[in-house]
C-alpha cells in the first residue's frame, strides 16, 4: 500500500492520519471527541497495519502523557483532540515543552467555550494554542485550510517537532477536518523526513540538556549505557532538578525561547494570492483562508485590488512576513471564526490598525462578508 503517487478523495481528518503515518508516526494515543474522532478511528485501523500502536486512553491527560512517554522511548507519537480535550492536555503539553520531547497534537477546533457547539467549526483556540499551558514557553502552531494542506502540514508538524524538539500543534477545525476533497498524495519515498539528532557522545559524556548553537539538545535512545534522568522542574544540563538555581532557570528559559528563534524561518509557512499590487490585504488562516481567496477573486473581478496573505504558521507569529506584505496596503482585513484573536498580532506586526470580520456562532465566514468589509473600509 501507498506505493508511488496516489490520487485520493479524502477527509481532512483522514489526511492527518495518512500524513502522520507517512511522517513516521508509530504511536497514537487519544480519547474520542467531536470533531476529531475520525482521526482516532482511522488510527485504530491504520496504526497496527504499519506496525504501530493505537491506544485509547482513559482521558486526554493520559493521552498526552502516553504520547510523551512513547516519544521518550524513541517512537514518533501524536494525538488528536478538540477544544475541551485540548484544555485537558495543556499541563502535559507544557511538560513536553520543558523536557523538549517531540510530539504532535492535532486540535480540530469546534465552538467554545466549554462544550460550546460540538459539531460546528471555530477558530477559538488560537490563543489557547499559544498560551494554554502555564509558564513562559515556546510553541509552534500550524493551521491548514484544506485537505491537502492538512496532509502537508501534518508531515511538517512531525518534522518540526523532531528537528526543534518541541511539541507542535496542528490547529485544524471542523470544516477542514470533515470536508472531503480530491488530493494528490506524494510518493511516501519522496517525502523528506526529519529525525531528532542523536548524540555521538559516549554515555559517560552525554548530557541530555546540553545544546549547541541551534539550542536543540541531542537525543540519546535509552539503553546501551545511556541511562539518564529527565524532569520538568527547572533542570540542569544533566536533567536533574535545579529548582533553586535562578541562574540555571534564566539560562534554560532563554535557550528554550531562542531555540524557536533559531528555527523560525524553517518553521514559517505561508501562501500569497494577488499580493503584488494589493491595496486591501486580507490576512487569513485555516478554513477562513478559503473564503478569503474567493473574496479576493470576486473583488479583483470588480477592479478592487485585494490580495490574500494566508498564514499556515501562526505561532511563532510570522511578524516579518505580515509586515512585509501589509506595508503597501491601504487597509488590512483579518477575518476569523472568533471574536478577534490573531488580529491583534497583525496589528502589532504591521504597526497599523486592521479591520476584523468575526463570527463565533459556528457558521463559516463567507466570501460575501469579507467582500462587504473590504468595501466598507474602502
Amino acid at each position: 500500500m501507498n506505493k508511488g503517487k496516489q490520487v485520493r478523495f479524502m477527509q481532512g481528518n483522514e489526511a492527518v492520519v495518512e500524513a502522520g503515518i507517512t511522517a513516521g508516526v508509530r504511536f497514537f494515543a487519544g480519547y474520542p471527541i467531536t470533531p476529531a474522532s475520525e482521526i482516532a478511528e482511522l488510527m485504530s485501523i491504520r496504526m497496527p497495519q504499519v506496525g504501530g500502536t493505537y491506544v485509547q486512553m482513559e482521558d486526554e491527560l493520559a493521552s498526552m502523557a502516553a504520547v510523551i512517554g512513547a516519544s521518550m522511548g524513541s517512537v514518533k507519537a501524536m494525538t488528536a483532540t478538540s477544544g475541551p480535550g485540548f484544555s485537558l492536555m495543556q499541563e502535559n503539553l507544557g511538560y513536553a515543552s520543558m523536557v523538549e520531547i517531540p510530539c504532535v497534537i492535532v486540535n480540530v477546533m469546534r465552538v467554545g467555550p466549554a462544550s460550546g457547539m460540538p459539531t460546528h467549526p471555530s477558530q477559538g483556540d488560537v490563543m489557547q494554542s499559544r498560551w494554554g499551558t502555564h509558564g513562559d514557553h515556546p510553541v509552534v502552531v500550524l493551521s491548514p485550510s484544506n485537505v491537502k494542506e492538512a496532509f502537508d502540514l501534518t508531515i511538517e508538524a512531525v518534522n518540526i517537532s523532531e528537528m526543534v524538539r518541541v511539541p507542535v500543534v496542528l490547529l485544524s477545525d471542523a470544516i477542514v477536518g470533515h470536508i472531503r476533497e480530491r488530493v494528490e498524495l506524494p510518493d511516501p519515498a519522496s517525502v523528506k523526513l526529519i529525525e531528532r539528532k542523536r548524540t555521538s557522545l559516549p554515555p559517560s559524556e552525554y548530557k541530555p540538556f546540553a545544546a549547541g548553537d541551534d539550542c536543540a539538545p541531542e537525543f540519546a535512545d535509552r539503553g546501551n549505557g545511556y541511562r539518564y534522568h529527565m524532569c520538568s522542574n527547572v533542570h540542569n544540563e544533566w536533567g536533574f532538578p535545579a529548582d533553586s538555581g535562578h541562574e540555571i532557570a534564566d539560562r534554560l528559559m532563554r535557550r528554550l525561547h531562542k531555540k524557536i528563534e533559531v528555527f523560525q524561518d524553517r518553521v514559517t509557512y505561508y501562501k500569497t494570492f494577488e499580493v503584488e499590487d494589493a491595496e486591501y490585504m486580507v490576512v487569513a488562516y485555516g478554513c477562513v483562508a478559503r473564503s478569503a481567496k474567493d473574496a479576493v477573486k470576486a473583488l479583483r473581478s470588480e477592479g478592487i485590488k485585494a490580495g490574500l496573505l494566508q498564514l499556515q504558521t501562526i505561532w511563532p507569529f510570522p511578524a516579518g512576513i505580515v509586515r512585509k506584505f501589509c506595508a503597501g496596503a491601504k487597509k488590512i482585513i483579518v477575518p476569523e471564526m472568533n471574536m478577534g484573536q490573531l488580529i491583534n498580532e497583525v496589528r502589532l506586526a504591521s504597526g497599523r490598525d486592521a479591520a476584523g470580520v468575526n463570527r463565533a456562532d459556528g457558521i463559516a465566514v463567507s466570501p460575501k462578508q469579507i467582500i462587504e468589509k473590504v468595501k466598507a473600509v474602502k
Partner: protein, 278 residues
C-alpha cells in the same frame, strides 16, 4: 553481590527526605530486588510523578524520568509500548498515585499492561506540608483536617483487584524483607503489578497524630498489619482498622496488553493482505 550504594547516583546524594522518612527504605528494597533478579540496569526505567515519592528516581542510577502530578502511569503506558524490552517501574505516593492519578491507575490495571506500580503510602501529602490524602485514616489530623479527617480512605489493593490487575500485594517498611520479596515477585510477573508499601511520614503525619518519633509509626505498622493468610480467618470486626499484608492476588488468566497489541498487528497485516473488509 552489589550493594545498594552501587546503584545510586553519587552526585545526587544526600537525598532531600526528612529524617525518619520511609522513602529511602523503599528505594533500598527496590534496588535489592532488582539486584537479586540480576536485571540489566540499562533495561530498567523508573518513572515518577510529583511529591516526595517522585524523588526516588533522582538518586537511583537507572533510566528515569519524573513526570507531572498523578500522570506517571500514563507516561509509563506510552513508554512501555515504545520500549517493551524495558522493565517499567512507576513509583508514586498515595496523593500522586491514588488521588490525582487514581483514574490512570485503574485503567492501566484494566488494560493489564506490564508496568510495575509501587505505591508508597505514607497516608498524607508530604511534600506540600501534610494535607490529608485519599488514604489518610478516618479521624486523623492533617494540615487541611485540623479538627479531624471525616473522609474514609479506600483500599487500593481491593480497587486494583476489581480493576483487573494481575498482581496485587502490600508490604510495609516495618516488614521490609516481605516488602522486598513482594517487589521482586511483581518485577517477575508479566502484567500490571501493584505493590503498596505502607511507610511512615513523621513530619507530615506523625507529628500531628501523636507519633512524632518514626519508631512509633513503625510500631503502628507492626500492630495494624495482618498477614493475608491470617486475615482470611478473621472476622470483619476483628479486621477493623487493620490492613492486609502479603501477596493478595496473582492471576494469569488475562493477556498482557503489549503482547495483545502485537497479536493485533498480525491480525491487521493479514486483514490488509486479504483486502480487509472492502
Amino acid at each position: 553481590m552489589a550493594t545498594v550504594r552501587d546503584y545510586l547516583r553519587p552526585g545526587m546524594l544526600p537525598h532531600i527526605w526528612c529524617p525518619g522518612c520511609g522513602d529511602g527504605t523503599v528505594v533500598g528494597a527496590l534496588i535489592r530486588a532488582i539486584d537479586k533478579l540480576k536485571i540489566d540496569r540499562d533495561l530498567v526505567t523508573v518513572i515518577t510523578g510529583i511529591g516526595c515519592s517522585s524523588r526516588v528516581n533522582n538518586i537511583m542510577d537507572f533510566n528515569s524520568f519524573q513526570t507531572t502530578h498523578g500522570r506517571a502511569v500514563g507516561f509509563a503506558t506510552g513508554f512501555k509500548i515504545a520500549r517493551p524490552e524495558m522493565k517499567v517501574i512507576v513509583v508514586a505516593g498515595d496523593g500522586d498515585g491514588a488521588g490525582i492519578g487514581g483514574n490512570h491507575l485503574i485503567h492501566a490495571a484494566r488494560r493489564n499492561i506490564d508496568i510495575k506500580v509501587i505505591l508508597i503510602n505514607n497516608q498524607i501529602f508530604g511534600m506540600t506540608g501534610g494535607q490529608f490524602s485519599p488514604l489518610t485514616p478516618y479521624g486523623a489530623i492533617a494540615s487541611t483536617a485540623q479538627y479531624e479527617n471525616v473522609e474514609y480512605p479506600f483500599d487500593v489493593c481491593k480497587l486494583m483487584e476489581a480493576a483487573g490487575a494481575t498482581y496485587v500485594a502490600r508490604g510495609t517498611v516495618y516488614h521490609l524483607s516481605l516488602t522486598e520479596k513482594l517487589i521482586a515477585r511483581a518485577l517477575e510477573h508479566k502484567g500490571f503489578s501493584y505493590v503498596e508499601v505502607i511507610t511512615q511520614c513523621p513530619t507530615g503525619y506523625g507529628k500531628r497524630n501523636k507519633m512524632v518519633d518514626p519508631y512509633q509509626l513503625l510500631m503502628w505498622q507492626k500492630e495494624h498489619a495482618v498477614p493475608v493468610e491470617q486475615a482470611a480467618k478473621l472476622s470483619t470486626k476483628e479486621m477493623k482498622d487493620k490492613f492486609v499484608i502479603g501477596e493478595i492476588l496473582v492471576r494469569h488468566d488475562r493477556m498482557e496488553f503489549v503482547e495483545a497489541n502485537e497479536q493485533l498487528k498480525e491480525k491487521a497485516r493479514r486483514w490488509l493482505k486479504g483486502g480487509g473488509g472492502k
